[in-house]
Point group: C2
Chain length 151, copies 2
């Protein structure tokens, strides 16, 4: 089977399949007499496996390990478990970081007057100034007083 059909069936692009071969994630593909790559059922399984593993968020290097476990009938499920557990912790860590960032952004937004004036708590905050603290606009909403509760 040619690479294009293989791409369609595995969910990867032809480009990606060639790339995986070039970095040794999959082994050199058998060629037809015309030089075209020729894939068969076991190759398709392997590539589908890789596509799913990538969808699960595993890096290429993780995939190398997962693939070797996939192909090793003497694997211990605990080895796989450990790898996935580690990945889960990575994902949790990234979620926490993003949530932290999210709450910072949310605070910026709620402090910004969102009008046609240049005074902006967002700019002030990023500039390291006290947001709006020393600017006497005379009509600051009360929400600014809730500021210190979030330090």
């Amino acid at each position: 089977m040619n690479i294009s059909q293989t791409a369609t069936e595995t969910g990867l692009s032809a480009k990606t399949i060639r790339y995986y071969e070039s970095i040794g994630l999959i082994s050199q593909t058998r060629r037809k007499t015309n030089g075209y790559r020729d894939y068969e059922a076991t190759d398709l399984k392997q590539l589908k496996f890789l596509c799913r593993a990538r969808d699960f968020g595993f890096s290429i290097e993780d995939c190398r390990v997962l693939l070797s476990l996939y192909q090793n009938p003497e694997r211990k499920s605990a080895e796989v478990h450990e790898l996935v557990e580690k990945k889960l912790q990575d994902v949790d860590q990234r979620i926490r970081e993003l949530q932290s960032m999210r709450s910072l952004l949310d605070k910026l937004i709620s402090d910004c007057p969102n009008d046609t004036q240049p005074e902006c708590a967002i700019i002030d905050s990023m500039a390291g100034r006290e947001p709006l603290a020393n600017i006497n606009t005379g009509n600051l909403p009360a929400k600014l007083t809730g500021h210190e509760a979030n330090g």
Copy 2:
């Protein structure tokens, strides 16, 4: 002030500062007679601003816009507000994606026996097989019966 001290004070690396100059995020830096870059107070403020904006998750291109707003005394706070609002939505989207990935990983983990045997629901799942479905190990826990509820 030399670049090294500037890096220390702004929270960026010297490498990063040169990089920002090379891509035009900051303008060409004044040089001393020996060719060394020479930074002063306003440069430090600008670089600190960039460091914070990056910490908030803004891309370099976002930073270009934020910096121009920062330096424009006729800005409207609503413009800044909109940019930050958009960023917040991006972050929310990424959090949702990661949470979705997280729940998939979590399910994989709970389905894996985590022992010394090769039978592994994680591998099966990534291989596109029914996890453990056709494997008669004889001692599968009841949790596997709950599997079809998630198709």
